[in-house]
Symmetry: C3
Subunit: 339 residues, 3 copies
C-alpha cells in the first residue's frame, strides 16, 4: 500500500507542511526511518530525534511543527492519527473467507455466510456466529455462545459456554472466556463445588489479550462493557463488571464480585480484592492492590521500587523496628515534657 501525504492529510484532517505528492508506504520509528516511511512524534522525550530523522514525513503537533526538517502532518493528537495511518498502510487481511473442512460445527449452530471458520475449530450447540466474524485455527466455541459481527478470535482461544460477545471485538490466542468461576462451599469433608450458572456478557469493541481468563458469573453475569481493552494474562473473576473504555495492562487481576468503573486504567500486575467497587476515572499503578472501595477519581499506588539488595534489606530491617522506634520517640517526648 502506498499513499500520498496529500491524501493522508485530507483523510485524517491534518495540516500538511510540505509536498502533497510525497508518497509513503510504511511506518517507522523516528530514529530509524527511511525516506518512504512515515513516523510520528508524540512523546517530547524523542523531540531531539526529529532533527535528524530520515523519514519522508512526520505526524506531530503544532508545537513541534517548526522544528521538523521534512514534510509534516500537523494534528492535535499525533498518536491517534499515526494509529489510523498505520491501519491504512497495514490493513488486517482475512485471507480465507470460508469454513475449513476440518472445522466441527454443531448442526444447531448458525454461522453467517460471510464468517471465516479456521482449521480444527469446534463450534457447539445453539451458537450464533455473526457477519464477517473470523474464528482462527484451534479455537473452541462452546455451547450457547453468540458472537457479534466483525469480531475476531485468533488461534487456540476458548469460549467455554454461554458467552455473548458484541461487534468488532478481538480475542487473542489462548484466552479462556466463560470458564466456571472459583466457587466452593466448605463442608466437613472438604470443598463442595458451587455451580456457576451465570454467563459472560461482552460489549462491542472489546480486546481480550493472550492467555487472559474471564470466568462466568456464579448466579448473575460477568460483564465487560463496550470498548474495554484487556492485555495478556489478566484474570477476571466471577461476577465482575468492568466499565466502558477501561484498560488493563498485562497480568492485572480482578477478584470476584468487584465492579470497576468507566475509563479506568490498571497498571501491570495490579489488582483488587473481591467484593468492592472502584468508581469511574481511576488509575491504579502497576503492582498495586486495591483493598477497599475507591470513590474518588484519581491515581492510586501501593508498590515499592526495587533497590540494591543491601539497601533494601536495611529498609526492611528498619521497617520491622518501626514499632519500637515509635515507642522510643514517645518516651523521649515524655521525658522532654517532664522537664
Amino acid at each position: 500500500m502506498r499513499f500520498s501525504l496529500g491524501e493522508l492529510a485530507e483523510r485524517f484532517d491534518c495540516e500538511l507542511l510540505g509536498d502533497p505528492g510525497i508518497e509513503v508506504d510504511r511506518v517507522a520509528t523516528i530514529g530509524n526511518a527511511a525516506s518512504t516511511s512515515i513516523t510520528f512524534l508524540a512523546n517530547p522525550a524523542y523531540r531531539k530525534m526529529l532533527l535528524t530523522t530520515g523519514a519522508g514525513a512526520v505526524i506531530l503537533d503544532q508545537s513541534s511543527a517548526s522544528d521538523c526538517p521534512v514534510a509534516a502532518l500537523v494534528t492535535r493528537n499525533p498518536y491517534v492519527v499515526y494509529a489510523k495511518v498505520a491501519s491504512l498502510l497495514f490493513p488486517e487481511v482475512i485471507t480465507e473467507r470460508a469454513t475449513h473442512p476440518s472445522a466441527v460445527i454443531a448442526t444447531s449452530a448458525s454461522v453467517a455466510d460471510s464468517a471465516s471458520v479456521g482449521a480444527h475449530v469446534v463450534i457447539g450447540e445453539n451458537c450464533t456466529i455473526g457477519e464477517n466474524v473470523f474464528i482462527g485455527p484451534g479455537c473452541v466455541v462452546g455451547d450457547d455462545c453468540h458472537i457479534g459481527h466483525d469480531t475476531r478470535l485468533m488461534a487456540n482461544a476458548t469460549l467455554v459456554r454461554r458467552v455473548t460477545m458484541g461487534a468488532r471485538c478481538t480475542i487473542y490466542p489462548g484466552a479462556v472466556i466463560g470458564s466456571p468461576g472459583f466457587g466452593f462451599a466448605r463442608d466437613k469433608s472438604g470443598w463442595v463445588h458451587v455451580p456457576q450458572v451465570g454467563r459472560v456478557t461482552i460489549g462491542d469493541d472489546v480486546d481480550i489479550g493472550a492467555n487472559t481468563t474471564i470466568d462466568c458469573g456464579a448466579i448473575e453475569d460477568t460483564v465487560i462493557e463496550n470498548g474495554v481493552k484487556l492485555d495478556n494474562q489478566i484474570q477476571i473473576g466471577h461476577n465482575v463488571r468492568i466499565g466502558e473504555h477501561t484498560v488493563m495492562a498485562a497480568t492485572a487481576g480482578i477478584s470476584g464480585s468487584t465492579t470497576i468503573g468507566k475509563r479506568c486504567m490498571f497498571g501491570g500486575a495490579s489488582g483488587t480484592v473481591g467484593h468492592l467497587t472502584v468508581c469511574d476515572d481511576v488509575i491504579v499503578n502497576g503492582l498495586s492492590m486495591v483493598s477497599k472501595d475507591i470513590t474518588v477519581p484519581g491515581i492510586y499506588a501501593g508498590s515499592f521500587p526495587a533497590a540494591e539488595v543491601n539497601v533494601w534489606r536495611r529498609y526492611v530491617a528498619r521497617f520491622r523496628q518501626l514499632d519500637r522506634i515509635a515507642k522510643r520517640v514517645t518516651n523521649l517526648e515524655a521525658m522532654q515534657k517532664k522537664k
Copy 2:
C-alpha cells in the same frame, strides 16, 4: 428441572418453614430473585435484603429464620446446601458419550467405553482413560497419562506426559500439566537443561483452573493431593507437594520443591519462594510472599493496600529515610542520657 421445597428439605436434611408444595426451578441472588427462584443467605452483610426478597424460598441458618418473609430451608451451613440445590437444578450434562471421529488416539491407549472424547483431541501412547471421563475438544493428552473415572478435561487443556490423575477431577481450559520444570545448570557457555524425569501425580476431586500450569518433577514427582482446588493462572513449580483440601486463588505461584500442608488457603497473587515448607491450616493473604518455612497454623500477610498516589509517595519517601530517622532517635536518646 423443578423441585418442591418438601423434597429439597428432605434431601438435604433441612427444617422447612413454609409450604412443602412450593416449587422452585432456578437459583438467584437474594436481591434479584423471582417467585420460582431459591436463594440463600450466608453473608450477614446481605441480611437486610432478606426482608424484601422476591424469592420463593431462602436457604438460611437458624439465626435468620424468624426474619424470613417467604418460605425457608433452615440449615447450619446454608452455602453448602445452596451448592447442592444448585447442582440439582443445574446438573452438568455431558451431551456426547462417544469418541468424535476427528480424535486421534494412539493404538496403545486404553479408553473406557463410557468415556467421551471430543473433536480434535489427541491421546498419546500407553494412556488409560477411565469410566465416564470427559475429554473436551482440542485437549492433548500426552504419552503415559492415566485419568481416573468421572474426571473432566474441558477444552484445549494439555497433559504433557506422565500425568496420573484420580477420579472426579476437573481440568479447565488452557491448563498445562506435566510440562518439564524449569531446571538449568550454569555452564561456562550458558545454561544446560537438566532433564525433568519426574511425574505429576494428582489425587481425587482436584480442580485445576484455566491456564494454570503444573510442572513435572525434576527427579521425584510433583504431587497434588485429594480435594485440592486451584483457581486460574496458578503456577506450581517442579517437585511441589500440595496437601489435601488446600485451595489457592487465581495467579498464586508456588516455587519449586516447596511443600504446602493440608487445608491451607492462598489468596490471589500470593506465593512462596522455593525449597520451603508450609504446615497445615495456614492462610496466606493475597499478594503476600512466603519466604521461609511456616510451622505454626494461622494467617500470614505481607502486602500493602493501595493509597492515593501522593499519600503513597510520601510513605515511600519516609520509608527510605527510616535508617536516618532511627539514628536521629538514637542521638536524641544519647543526649537525653547525658543530662
Copy 3:
C-alpha cells in the same frame, strides 16, 4: 539405558573414585536412591545425606569427595555434569518423524522432510520449518513464521505470525508468541488500536515456558537473544529486548520497550515498568519491581516477606504513621537545640 561409571567419567571429564565397571541406569535424589541410581551433591545443605545415600554413585566436587561412602564422579560443577548424565540416561525421543494426516499445512509453506508435524497442527502461508523440527499436536504456526533446525514446539502452542526462531529452541504448551502488542491511542470516543507491525525474533537455544506470552513489536521487533530461558506464565511486552543467557522465573513480566541485558536473572513474579534499560549481570529478586534504569550489575530487591497477620498489620499501621513520627523527631531535635 545403562552406562558404566568408567564411561561416564571419561565422557564428562570427571575423576572417578571407585569401580569403573559399576553401572547406573537412572537418576535419583541423594536421599532416595537405589543401587543402580546415580545422584549428585551440589547444595551443601544436603551434604549430611551423603553419608547414608543408597546411590550407586554420586557426582560431587573435590570438597565432598572424601566423605562419599560410594563411588564418586568428581568434577568442579556437579550440577552441570548431573544434567549431562541425566540427558544421556533419558534422551528426548521424538516418536514420530512424519506429518500427521490431520495437519493442515499451507501450500506456500516449506517443511523439511526430517521435521515432525503432529495431529491437528496448522501451519500458515510462507512458513519455513527446519530440519528435525518437532511441532506437537494442536500447535498453530501462523503466516510468515520461520523455525530453525531442531527446535521443538510442544502441544497447543501458538506462533501468531511473523515469528522467526533459531535452532534448538523449546516452546512449551500454551505459549503464545507474536500476538499483537497492547497499543492504543486515546481518542475522544475511546481507544484506537495502533497496528503492531513488528515481528518477534528469537535466537538459538531459547526456552519459552508453558502459557508464556511474547508480543510482537509495535514498529520494530521484539527480540529474545540466544540462550535465554523463560519459565512459565511470563509476559514479555512489545519491543522488549532480552539479552543472551538471561533467565526468568515463572510469572515474571517485562513491560513494553524495555531492554534487559545479558546474563540477568529475574526471580518469580518480578518485573519492570516500561521504557527502561537493565544492564548486563543484574539479578532481580522475586516479587520485585524495577521502576528505573539499572546501570550497575548486582542484586536488586523490593519485596517484603510475609509475617503473621497481626504483626504485619502493626507494621503497616506504623508505616502509615511514619510521616508523623519523622516530624515528632524533628520537633524533639528542635527542642533539644534550644536548650
